[in-house]
């Protein structure tokens, strides 16, 4: 299995072209503040948008293959394409090989120069990223998850039958890999069993014990399972992957009861803001103004147009905080490192008591956006503060990691 590497991500929408990243790079790499000598180059303009010339640390780098002196090599531990000054013959063929101007002549010294992700620096991380005042640059270290989790057994068979572009399959696979095989999984009626978690007529997509609880009794059934294994001295994780409707509406009583009793359960709610599996009906987690098939938009009657749901969403995770659970957190598949961090904490907390994880999950089918946009919609939901990522423990109460919001740019005419 291939390895994943850390990378520098650029969000053009957040960049204002200030050049602080270039200054930071030039300072670290050349000891000057000459932006032209920076390994990262921001190009473009306010009117046309800003763009980036930076080594992509390609998996199959052409700069390396064209080098006649073997001065460039791909380091398969770090992923960085390393340049060896002692071997370089200054032929510049590498600059012909690169599509993105990731390696270019540093006219100041007459040699090529390229980004090495500052791996050798004391920080071990790129200097440009923290220099950006707008979070347009992000140092993505999610590859850690890929490298670590990728080798663990996928506890779902290939080919779960989710809708195109749905992120819940991703969530299920990651969660199960992390929680591991000593787990009993409850998937109450909804999208998750709809994908085949429990299966149909004798076939199943799951390699661990799995069942349909009723929509109404997920937490109660898991409580019984966990208690009996505890009684006989066996360590298992009682895990629910439930939808928002079952958890916030008809299953809320059993959820609340189990949380109040501090049952040792890891309860994950996949919040796609409605009963999507049955055809996008309104749930109490549907937000204000949202179209659903039971809160449609129309001309209405008596002069009152129908404008979707007329109430705010129930804030289920906050309600769970008021049960004083061992752990409560909200997460998003657009922030996998954060999700993994919270999942780890939730797993640990579920050994002591009730752990609740609320994952915001855009629904390509129900929300009717293009199927390749799920992660982007999930990310935007967080960046715009439409949903908030936070966590609660009894010791810390509610905390949220600082995260800059998307910048709304006003354009002069």
């Amino acid at each position: 299995m291939g390895r994943g590497y850390n990378t520098i991500a650029f969000d053009a929408a957040k960049c204002d072209g200030c050049g602080d990243c270039m200054t930071a790079c030039a300072t670290v790499k050349t000891g000057t503040d000459d932006k032209a000598r920076s390994r990262i180059q921001i190009v473009g303009s306010e009117s046309d948008g800003f763009e980036l010339a930076l080594c992509r640390q390609c998996g199959d780098p052409k700069c390396v293959t064209v080098c006649p002196a073997a001065a460039l090599t791909k380091n398969y531990d770090t992923g960085v394409i390393e340049w060896n000054a002692a071997k370089c013959v200054d032929c510049l063929l590498c600059t012909i090989g690169c599509t993105y101007a990731g390696i270019a002549l540093d006219a100041g010294v007459g040699h090529v120069a390229k980004c090495d992700m500052c791996y050798a620096s004391p920080a071990g991380a790129p200097a440009c990223v923290p220099a950006c005042p707008h979070d347009a640059l992000t140092y993505i270290t999610t590859s850690r998850i890929y490298n670590e989790v990728g080798d663990w057994e996928d506890l779902f068979a290939p080919g779960l039958a989710g809708c195109q572009g749905c992120n819940t399959e991703l969530l299920m696979r990651h969660t199960l890999r992390r929680v591991g095989p000593d787990t009993v999984l409850a998937t109450p009626p909804g999208c998750v069993p709809g994908m085949g978690s429990v299966g149909f007529n004798g076939t199943t997509g799951t390699k661990i014990p799995v069942f349909h609880p009723l929509l109404t009794n997920t937490a109660a059934m898991l409580a019984g399972i966990k208690r009996q294994y505890k009684r006989v001295g066996r360590e298992i994780t009682a895990l629910a992957i439930a939808g928002d409707g079952g958890a916030s509406d008809v299953g809320f009583q059993s959820l609340s009861g189990a949380a109040e009793r501090n049952e040792q359960i890891l309860f994950m709610v996949v919040d796609n803001e409605g009963y999507m599996n049955t055809g996008m009906q309104r749930s109490s987690c549907t937000p204000y103004g949202a179209w659903t098939s039971t809160t449609p938009v129309g001309k209405g009657s008596g002069g009152m147009p129908a404008q979707g749901k007329t109430q705010d969403a129930k804030n289920l995770p906050l309600i769970m905080v008021n049960h004083r659970c061992e752990y409560v957190a909200t997460a998003s598949t657009a922030y996998m490192e954060d999700l993994y961090d919270k999942l780890d904490k939730a797993i640990q907390a579920s050994k002591r008591g009730f752990a609740y994880l609320h994952v915001y999950s855009p629904c390509t089918t129900g929300w009717r956006f293009p199927t390749d946009q799920n992660m982007e919609v999930a990310r935007k939901a967080v960046e715009t503060n439409f949903v908030m990522l936070w966590e609660y423990t009894r010791a810390t109460a509610c905390t949220s990691r600082g995260r800059s919001m998307i910048r709304c740019r006003s354009r002069s005419i």
Partner: protein, 419 residues
Amino acid sequence: MTTATLDAPSQARPAKQKVILCEGNEAAALGVALARPDMVAVYPITPQSSLVEHVAKLIADGRMDADIVDAEGEHSVLSVLQGGALAGARTYTATCGPGLAFMFEPYFRTSGMRLPIVMTIVTRDGITPQSVWGGHQDAMTVREVGWVQVYCETVQEVLDTTVMAFKIAEHHDVMLPVNVCLDGNYLSYGTSRVELPEQAEVDAFMGVKDVNWHVALDPLRPMAVDPLTGGSGGKGPSSFVRYRKGQCRGMQNSLRVIEEVHQEWAQRFGRNFAPLVEEYRLDGADYAIMTLGSMTGAAKDAIDEARDAGKRVGLIKLKTFSPFPVEALLKSLRKVRALGVVDRSVGFRWNCGPMYQETMGALYRLARESGSILPSMSFIGGLAGADITVGHFHRVIEATEKLLTGSAPTEPVWLNEKD
């Protein structure tokens, strides 16, 4: 009030049986303790409350080693137990009336998943007109959902049947949940002399616990429990039919198992309860009345008095109501020429008592066999805590006797209508 009558001991009994005085709810709790469940889930409701209080106290006092879950409602009570059972626990709870109605969703599912959960129904009338008093309406309402349902006559029978219920439920040929029905007010609070079996004797009777060999949520033997089944294509119809037919087979098997377990109980503990159908002074009877539950005590007194007065009347009592013990009942029905059936609840669809309605099915079998129809009628009494007295049963006997010579009324007789 109906007097609980103890059966005369028919066999040499084991020496060590402590005699105590207790109410039916406590007897049920003691029976539960003797059966050593792993998990008990409780939610209070009149007239069941003192039962779960007794269970909680037994656990708190260290006289019972079970995990007790104070759930937030009956729906979760049964759901917690389903989880426990799927993880291998022997499980128990009790409820009635509105609580039973609230737990209907998981209740229906328990039999479908073949989980051998034992649940006492301390029967209660209602739900509306509002009533907190006894009556069989709750248990009768759920009679078609695949649980084995047995009704007790006495406080001693409550204790003994509660223990036996676990063995019946967990029998590999049955694997179905069992309701032990005891009459709210009359048995729940009725105090009586009770013989308490020794724990070691009961342990020997119960044998090795093995409740989830057939369906489990266990990482050591992973399986998908209750996948979607049915539909009109592929293996759908056949797999669904296979499940349902298995349930029906389990129900039918339970009739034999109930008899076997009662026999073994009698051998070990010296108390002989009719497992399916009890006959009382039926030999030489021209006609019979039919009863269920605690009302039978008063009915037997009335039969004794009627016999003394020269009336050729006997009594048939059902203990097992679900599955309906039609073969056993037919043996008794063949002995008489008229039948009056007394119900403690109503069957809304047929304008008669539910037991009467079920018995009509047996009477059809009898008619096919004999070529003639046994005249019968329905009596409804004891609703919402009302007493069915010896006097009421004399009215039942007189009306049933008239069936021998006249035509059968189509309307039921409401015994407490003018009380």
